[in-house]
Amino acid sequence: QQPVQSPQAVILREGEDAVINCSSSKALYSVHWYRQKHGEAPVFLMILLKGGEQKGHEKISASFNEKKQQSSLYLTASQLSYSGTYFCGTEIIPDSWGKLQFGAGTQVVVTP
């Protein structure tokens, strides 16, 4: 039931782009993206809902392919501050009361 994230890790130079994918074998109602820096709390980035609605930070972009049950997070023109571990959390049904199934995370390292 846990979603699968790919890649497991990515190293970027400042200014480069990257895509993180989150795939589920179950039909998804929503996908939540979080970023965690070492030793800190995971920080909310975005929610994507079935039907196309998005809630989140303007500078982060993501997509939700309902047919493939997959979400992708786009890191564009990466900055050093983008480094961290990115987690996707999925809700399978709308009445799951916020219970999220998380992926194993994608570690992103942005170098100067």
Partner: protein, 114 residues
């Protein structure tokens, strides 16, 4: 406004001992969740409180784990007796509404059972 706070940040205990983790959610957040990440794997759901009631405790691994949320404010997660496989990072999160809304996470408690 204070975020979600967890105590302690680290705990090292011996197998068989008892440990109690505490989570203080954001004031006014009725929904409180406990999650656990073991050995760099997925963050797994443990349970969900709505105020003082357990809405969903399907993720609790066994009866050595006991969660409480007295008065609908802070929550505790007790592990008794602790086993080696209980090691990991325990996260608490809170939200104003359940579901399609941002959940605020604490920094986690790193539990090491030796």
């Amino acid at each position: 406004e204070a975020g979600v706070t967890q105590f302690p940040s680290h705990s090292v205990i011996e197998k068989g001992q008892t440990v109690t983790l505490r989570c203080d959610p954001i004031s006014g957040h009725d929904n409180l969740y406990w999650y656990r990440r073991v050995m760099g794997k997925e963050i797994k759901f443990l349970l969900h409180f709505v105020k003082e009631s357990k809405q969903d405790e399907s993720g609790m691994p066994n009866n050595r784990f006991l969660a409480e949320r007295t008065g609908g404010t802070y929550s505790t997660l007790k592990v008794q007796p602790a086993e080696l496989e209980d090691s990991g990072v325990y996260f608490c999160a809170s939200s104003l509404l359940p579901g399609d809304t941002e959940a605020f996470f604490g920094q986690g408690t790193r539990l090491t059972v030796v």
